[in-house]
Amino acid sequence: MKWFDHITESISRKVAQNSSRRSFIGGFGTAIVGGAVIPILPVARAAEGHGGGQPTAPIDGAVDDPASCDYWRNCSIDGFLCSCCGGTSTSCPPGTEMSPITWIGTCKNPHDGKDYIISYNDCCGKTSCGNCFCNTNLLDRPTYRPHTANDINWCLGTSSAAYHCTVTLVLGVATKKA
């Protein structure tokens, strides 16, 4: 992918001048890096149709870093990571409200090789955090199947629909279809 080399060079050279564009574009850049440079996590592995199997050691610490787009739970996220916004990967920043309604993803934990159902709850009620934008889309599908659609603003059921950031809550181990 020649364009991949072009985009990383271009982003590092030019985008740093504009922090708000960079935070948005960096999410795409990081996702591309995740897909192209580290091919076994998470995209290609899912493409192989593996629902389980032997765990592999992470290639670098990013898969264990909740502030990274490559964090294993972040395989289908779209938004700002609450870990970079005064919250954590499982808790909202102060003064926000966690949406009770959301989309879900299925991400493989590289340490035990199991697929986990991840609930991507939005934290709402304040303007965008602006840090650590990620857009990874494993098993994401369009809006017509909402529970797997991350393009929707899921600040629903909250007192304000203003979107701030997203957490990643484990709901359970995914079970294979019979």
């Binding site: 992918m1 364009w3 948005f24 965008s128 098993l139 017509y144 629903l156 203003a162």
Partner: protein, 384 residues
């Protein structure tokens, strides 16, 4: 004597030039835009992803070489608004959300109507219930139908519904609850279709009061898991062309009262399939006025890459099911739009969030519009 007279004359002229005052200016002069907008103007909706309360549509003239000449004007949009631009009226519609205290307080959803020439607010229509769907911008969360007499609005709470607005009367006249279906694909004389969560579709025809006259269910016709339809088709002569995740194109005929799924054809050769060329992006598809479909494509695709930027735009003659050209991009793109004249421009929001302008017929890069105060122009609209 003559020499002295000439010197005297020159002194008088110089004196006048140095000492005359700058003329007074008139207070309160406001610009207006020409109608119709020139064909190579483009409207970029910058949703302001880092501060969604303050989005805006920026109107640009892609024929101009410098930013100051490109920049024509703006109008505001709030909280990832849905925007529709009329072709037969000098109006633009913004379905948006406001809170009484900025990002909090009491919520009001409105359709704000802007005048194309003055960019002033002409009117607003309150849409009750606070149900507006907020999602990354699309042509299918808001749509004009029946010669632009009615405006349809997609709501999501997550229950889904479509509000029907009578544009001339400036009034919401109905709200249609949908059975777990989403989005608005214009269908027939005065109707729409939506795709449902089981890969079926539902179609509605409305009467002049916006009430449902008939409703049709179309059985499931694709696999969401194996080869999902992108939710952004291209509409050409009443037929919707949906690209799919695995690089097929599915036709759905929307000319009659109900949607009729049609043929599916491949967008890539065996070799290109082996290289995993796939569609991807945000507003990843568009059409010119000559029956050609434009699609952002990336190679090395796999499950999860359907929002990757495209390295190329592939152009297809949809009637003959044939690719007519490949346009390599100078910078990968996320958004495409094509002007509707006979010498079309291809506009691409690239990964740096600048807008690259190409000759759509030759693929030649003409210029890049950059540094016009934009941050996230995630959808583009051609002027006409």
């Amino acid at each position: 004597m003559k020499k002295r007279f000439i010197i005297f004359l020159l002194l008088c002229i110089c004196n006048t030039a140095v000492w005359s005052d700058v003329a007074n200016d008139k207070l309160g002069v406001i610009g207006t835009l020409p109608l119709p907008y020139p064909d190579h103007w483009v409207l970029a909706h910058d949703v302001g992803f880092n501060h969604m309360l303050n989005g805006k549509v920026i109107i640009l003239d892609a024929e101009q070489q410098t930013r100051n000449k490109q920049y024509k004007g703006t109008y505001d949009t709030s909280l990832i608004a849905s925007v529709a631009i009329a072709k037969t009226r000098p109006e633009m519609y913004v379905y948006e959300t406001f809170y009484t205290r900025g990002n909090r307080g009491t919520r009001t959803d409105v359709v704000t109507i802007y005048d194309k020439a003055s960019l002033n607010v002409l009117d607003e229509i309150i849409i009750p219930g606070g149900k507006r769907a907020q999602m990354l911008p699309s042509d299918f969360t808001i749509h004009l139908i029946d010669d632009e007499k009615y405006l349809l609005l997609f709501n999501f709470t997550p229950s889904t519904s479509v509000a029907v607005v009578d544009v001339e009367k400036r009034k919401m006249i109905n709200e249609i609850d949908l059975p777990s279906c989403s989005l608005i694909y214009p269908t027939g004389k005065r109707g729409f279709s939506s795709i449902c969560s089981d890969a079926s579709m539902v179609s509605y025809q409305l009467d002049k009061k916006g009430q449902v006259k008939n409703k049709s269910k179309i059985e499931s016709f694709f696999s969401i898991d194996e080869d999902a339809l992108f939710e952004r088709p291209v509409l050409i002569d009443g037929i919707a062309y949906f690209p799919t995740f695995n690089a097929n194109l599915r036709e759905v005929d929307l000319r009659g009262d109900k949607a009729v799924p049609g043929k599916s054809w491949r967008l890539r050769t065996e070799e290109e399939a082996a290289a995993n060329w796939r569609p991807g992006g945000m507003q990843l598809s568009g059409a010119d006025s000559m029956g050609n479909l434009y699609l952002l494509m990336h190679d090395g695709g796999a499950e999860g890459t359907h929002k990757y930027p495209g390295a190329e735009v592939w152009v297809f003659d949809v009637k003959n099911q044939k690719r007519v050209r490949r346009i390599p991009l100078i910078m990968p793109g996320l958004v495409v739009e094509i002007s509707q004249d006979k010498s079309p421009y291809l506009f691409v929001t690239n990964v740096e969030m600048n807008i690259d302008v190409y000759d759509a017929l030759t693929g030649k890069h003409i210029r890049t519009m950059s540094d016009f105060g934009q941050e996230t122009p995630l959808i583009l609209f051609s002027a006409n």
